[in-house]
């Protein structure tokens, strides 16, 4: 594997202006495949989710999955696209064993959705509009595994295995127009764009949107041109960059590599590139020219699809609120600071907090519980916070108990552990574990006397008017009562005992 020369990113940016373009493939989570009734399931034994259609047996015919069309229209609408009134599939022809028919049934010049845009928010809140050229439907290919070679690529392999479970899985390919003007934020924009697409399809419920499973796959196109020049440079297409971090790194690397090539006076070669996560570099793939001839022609086994305006409007009415708008609304409603809200988003508990508030908790209580208690427990258990199974009603009940002075926060945390351990409802656990704030003043007064005796200097300070010193005594009492005392009542009793008026 030869190593390419690269410039530093800063130097590349000084000399050149990057232009990006993305092709994001989204696997739809329909029950069955794009053109057959075989199940669309990830991770099963190879070649089990296939029937005669997926295997391209002689005589078979495709039938379009209606749900896949609906999902595609929803994606188109969420990307602010126009939806074609009629559109067709075509055959993209090439001989390769991952496509059992030796052609891929794909939309070509008649995409179902076209001319849209997506407003992408960068980390500092800057909004960058990415123009969408089209979103079209196609079928996924089978998965080839090359055996015996050192690289896992077909070159040098002894033989190859093919799994057709993925063949025919419905895909929507979202293609951007050339993205200009991102400048040095190009890598960040790349990551944010793919993240935004992933979030949209997840929010629509049309894809599982797991990049690690290949539900969302990104091909990143990069070209450079000297500052001030309008004409685009020659692009490279880095295929299958399959994590958000990798998208950012791949774009950054390609910018640095292109800059070095241009600096050397050599032309950039139009080609596909392979991304290597281990070295964070790309290597040359297949030379690609615009003259690649796939002999496209309209798929004669399918009739044109007609999306009536009524149907499109019906689907539009079912669309969930766009994620960016929803975030804006929730942040305002809840009154969180920028930092608080970003932490909530990054912790992935937006939905959970929303549900907890809906169940009756205040915004601050909901945030305190999820961010203060549950996120940490989820991290320890190595699961998503939502997967711990904490019900909004549980949090509401706990918060009410604390507010009513029945238990304090420390006890409430213990009760939560009990709930997670399956010991019952919060009320049952309080009962079972004997957790109740001590409200009988007798034992409290004893503990207060002991605490005052233990820290006579503090007692003097309080008598002298330094009421803020009371914390040390309260702490001593709480410790002595193993946290079961009502801290507020303890404070009152101490002041009473010392003859100091509460301020």
């Amino acid at each position: 594997m030869s190593t390419d020369t690269i410039l530093s990113f800063e130097e590349a940016m000084e000399k050149y202006d990057p232009v990006l373009g993305f092709e994001v493939h989204v696997e739809l989570n329909t029950k069955t495949k794009m053109f057959s009734s075989a199940p669309n399931v990830f991770g099963d034994e190879p070649n089990t989710n296939v029937n005669e259609v997926d295997l391209g047996m002689p005589g078979v015919l495709p039938v379009v999955n209606k749900t896949a069309i609906e999902s595609s229209i929803k994606i188109g609408l969420a990307l602010n696209c126009k939806i074609a009134e009629t559109c067709r599939f075509a055959r993209k022809q090439y001989f390769y064993p991952d496509t059992p028919k030796n052609f891929q049934t794909s939309q070509y010049d008649e995409p179902i959705a076209y001319d849209g845009y997506l407003d992408v928010e960068l980390e500092d809140g800057t909004v960058f509009r990415v123009e969408i050229e089209r979103a079209h439907m196609e079928e996924d290919a089978g998965k080839l595994t090359h055996m015996g070679g050192a690289t896992g690529r077909i070159q040098g392999a002894d033989f190859s295995l093919v799994d057709y479970n993925r063949a025919g899985v419905p895909l929507v390919e979202i293609v951007t127009k050339p993205i200009e003007g991102a400048g040095s934020r190009a890598p960040e924009l790349a990551k944010a764009y793919v993240a935004a697409v992933r979030e949209i399809v997840k929010n629509l419920g049309v894809s599982d949107a797991k990049m690690e499973r290949g539900n969302v796959r990104c091909d990143a196109n990069v070209s450079l041109r000297p500052h001030g020049r309008e004409r685009f440079g020659i692009r490279s297409e880095t295929k299958n960059v399959n994590s958000l971090r990798a998208v950012e790194h791949a774009v950054r690397y390609e910018i640095q590599r292109h800059a070095a090539v241009l600096d050397s006076g050599e032309p950039v070669i139009q080609e596909t590139r392979h991304w290597h996560e281990d070295t964070r570099t790309t290597t040359s793939g297949r030379a690609k020219s615009d003259a690649d001839d796939y002999r496209y022609f309209p798929e004669p086994d399918l009739v044109p699809m007609v999306a009536s305006r009524e149907w499109v409007e019906e689907l539009r009415a079912t669309l969930p609120e766009p994620p960016a708008e929803r975030r804006k609304r929730l942040k305002a409603d809840w009154g969180y600071s920028d930092l608080e809200f970003r932490d909530v988003v990054n912790a992935g508990v937006l939905d959970e907090i929303e549900e907890t508030i809906a169940a009756g908790a205040s915004a601050s209580v909901a945030r305190k519980w999820w961010m203060g208690e549950i996120v940490g427990r989820a991290k320890a258990a190595d699961v998503d916070p939502g997967q711990l199974g904490v019900q909004p009603a549980t949090i509401v009940e706990l918060a009410q108990m604390v507010e009513a002075g029945k238990i304090n926060n420390k006890m409430a945390a213990q009760v939560l552990d009990g709930v997670l351990a399956g010991e019952g409802t919060p009320a049952e656990i309080v009962e079972k574990r004997g957790l109740a704030v001590v409200s009988d003043d007798g034992p409290l007064l004893e503990a207060i006397d002991a605490a005052l005796a233990a820290q006579p200097d503090v007692a003097d300070k309080i008598r002298g008017g330094k009421v803020q010193a009371i914390g040390a005594i309260v702490g001593g009492v709480m410790k002595a009562t193993r946290g079961q005392a009502d801290a507020g009542r303890v404070r009152e009793l101490i002041l009473e005992k010392l003859g100091v008026t509460a301020q």
């Binding site: 002689p58 015919l61 064993p97 001839d293 002999r295 022609f297």
Partner: protein, 524 residues
């Protein structure tokens, strides 16, 4: 001849409808009828001078299905009542249509020995009707040809003259029916592959309206043109079979949602009074054999006498139809046949030397597995779809297709049914046109427009040409979904002609000598 042989000889000459009546009346069993046909196949199909209509004979299963029908009939009751009218009537299936339990070759070496894991929709429907499937019939490789000489398994011979072609691509189905090896057969028609063999063998063949019979399980040549249809000895039999195989199929996206009108009732209408029958100016006269032209005119006279109004229509764009067809068909075929690559099923040939890459294995397999005509059309289609040529070839051909449809629209505004000779000539000699593809292609000049427009067409025997004594076909064409008109007019014309001949045309066909043995058949 023994008494039993006489009975068997009579059985095989019955129309499907007549046989169905005898089965229902209990005069004959389905096993007897099926066995009679299997015996006939054993007698005339194999050997050097055999008809060679069958690539595979399915004796065991056919007899089992027949025995099941007999048992149900013998038991009586609701199940017997529910039996399909054609239950127990045997049928042959073109080997382009996939069948579980029998090999399907498409007439090609590339699929030799391949067994389909699923049944074609039409085969499911035959099974549902409990029609014993006698076997799979010969064809030009992947249905590409007009003579069945392009079969990888040797040509089929025309029962009227064993040195002549039976038409193609469905020569096997037509010859099987003409030689009384089967009362019924299924064919596929992309440019005339049912109708032209029907014409040259003196049988009836129907290409239904595109979408009225499911294509699921018919190995595709040209998806937008292919259609499965009946091959029979009478018009009524075609109507009966068409109703068995027709109707919506959710597995075929091009399948029509609405059923056609009652075709059997149409075949029994019995009059053509007041119907306007249009002669297509461009589809007779110059280029048509004199004997063909004579028989055609004779049919026109008979229809006129029966009260039909004969009008002339012009379809000027039909002159471009053959050219457009030979761009669209190979374009689609080049794509449809891409799947035959040795990777998943069928023949796999390894390159004799050099690196064993996937491209080279695919190349070696396709080089060895496909015959010359298939390769010719794949090359033609690949070229026509190539970047830079697409608009000039495929694109222009699609425009012609639209013009042909408009010609039909205009013609059907003036006539209820159109009429022409089915083929310009009678059966030519084996080998006569094998080295001249263009001459071979011209045989389909009258049948191709119907495929381009998706309209239904029926060919029925119009008599024997004066100069060679060979069958001439008369083609009827109707607007899309109006297949019933073909059966109405066809049955009337058939009755008038048979009255003139004093019986079916096939009664005039020469007796076939015993050509093979049962052993050679089973070896198939």
């Amino acid at each position: 001849m023994t008494e039993q042989n006489t009975t068997a000889a009579g059985l095989i000459r019955l129309s499907a409808a007549a046989l169905a009546e005898k089965l229902r009346a209990g005069e004959v069993t389905a096993v007897e009828a099926t066995q009679a046909h299997l015996d006939r196949i054993a007698t005339v199909d194999g050997g050097e001078r055999g008809v060679n209509a069958f690539l595979h004979v399915n004796a065991e299963e056919a007899l089992a299905v027949a025995a099941e029908v007999d048992a149900i009939r013998a038991a009586g009751g609701a199940e017997a009542e529910a039996l399909h009218y054609l239950a127990g009537v045997p049928i042959a299936v073109k080997d382009l249509i996939v069948t579980v339990g029998q090999p399907t070759t498409a007439g090609s070496k590339i699929l030799e020995g391949w067994h389909s894991p699923y049944d074609a929709t039409v085969v499911e429907r035959l099974r549902a009707a409990k029609m014993p499937i006698l076997g799979k019939t010969n064809l030009d490789e992947f249905a590409m040809g007009s003579s069945t000489e392009h079969s990888a398994y040797g040509p089929t011979r025309n029962p009227w003259d064993l040195d002549r072609i039976p038409g193609g691509s469905g020569g096997g189905s037509a010859a099987a029916v003409a030689a009384f090896e089967a009362p019924l057969a299924l064919g596929t028609d992309t440019g005339g592959s049912i109708r032209q063999p029907g014409a040259v063998t003196g049988t009836v063949g129907v290409k239904p309206t595109y979408g009225s019979v499911s294509r699921y399980g018919a190995i595709a040549m040209a998806s937008s043109l292919d259609q499965i249809g009946p091959v029979t000895r009478t018009v009524l039999d075609s109507a009966l079979l068409h109703q068995v195989i027709g109707g919506h199929d959710p597995r075929d996206s091009t399948s029509l949602p609405e059923p056609l009108a009652d075709l059997v009732a149409a075949a029994k209408t019995g009059n053509v009074e007041g119907l306007r029958i249009g002669i297509i100016k461009e589809l007779h006269g110059e280029g048509y054999q004199a004997g063909v032209e004579n028989r055609f005119n004779e049919s026109l006279e008979l229809l006129k006498e029966a009260g039909a109004e004969i009008v002339e229509v012009s379809c000027p764009n039909f002159q471009y139809a053959l050219g457009a067809y030979y761009l669209i068909m190979p374009s689609e075929a080049s794509s449809n046949l891409a799947k035959f690559d040795g990777v998943r099923y069928g023949l796999r040939v390894l390159p004799e030397e050099g690196p064993m890459t996937i491209e080279r294995v695919m190349g070696a397999t396709r080089a060895a597995g496909f015959g010359d005509e298939v390769k010719r059309r794949i090359i033609l289609g690949t070229y026509a779809l190539s970047a830079g040529y697409y608009d000039a070839y495929y694109g222009s051909a699609q425009k012609v297709r639209t013009l042909v449809q408009r010609d039909f629209d205009a013609a059907f505004a003036k006539a209820d049914v159109l009429i022409s000779p089915t083929a310009p000539t009678t059966a030519f000699r084996l080998g006569e046109k094998l080295d001249d593809p263009l001459a071979m292609y011209l045989n389909d000049v009258a049948t191709i427009p119907a495929n381009l427009a998706g309209v239904p067409g029926l060919s029925l025997p119009g008599g024997l040409a004066d100069e060679d004594g060979l069958p001439v076909g008369i083609q009827l064409l109707a607007p899309a979904r109006e297949d019933a008109r073909l059966y109405r007019v066809g049955a009337v014309l058939e009755a008038l002609l048979e009255e003139k001949w004093g019986g079916p045309l096939l009664a005039q066909a020469p007796e076939l000598a015993t050509s093979g043995t049962l052993e050679t058949q089973e070896a198939k």
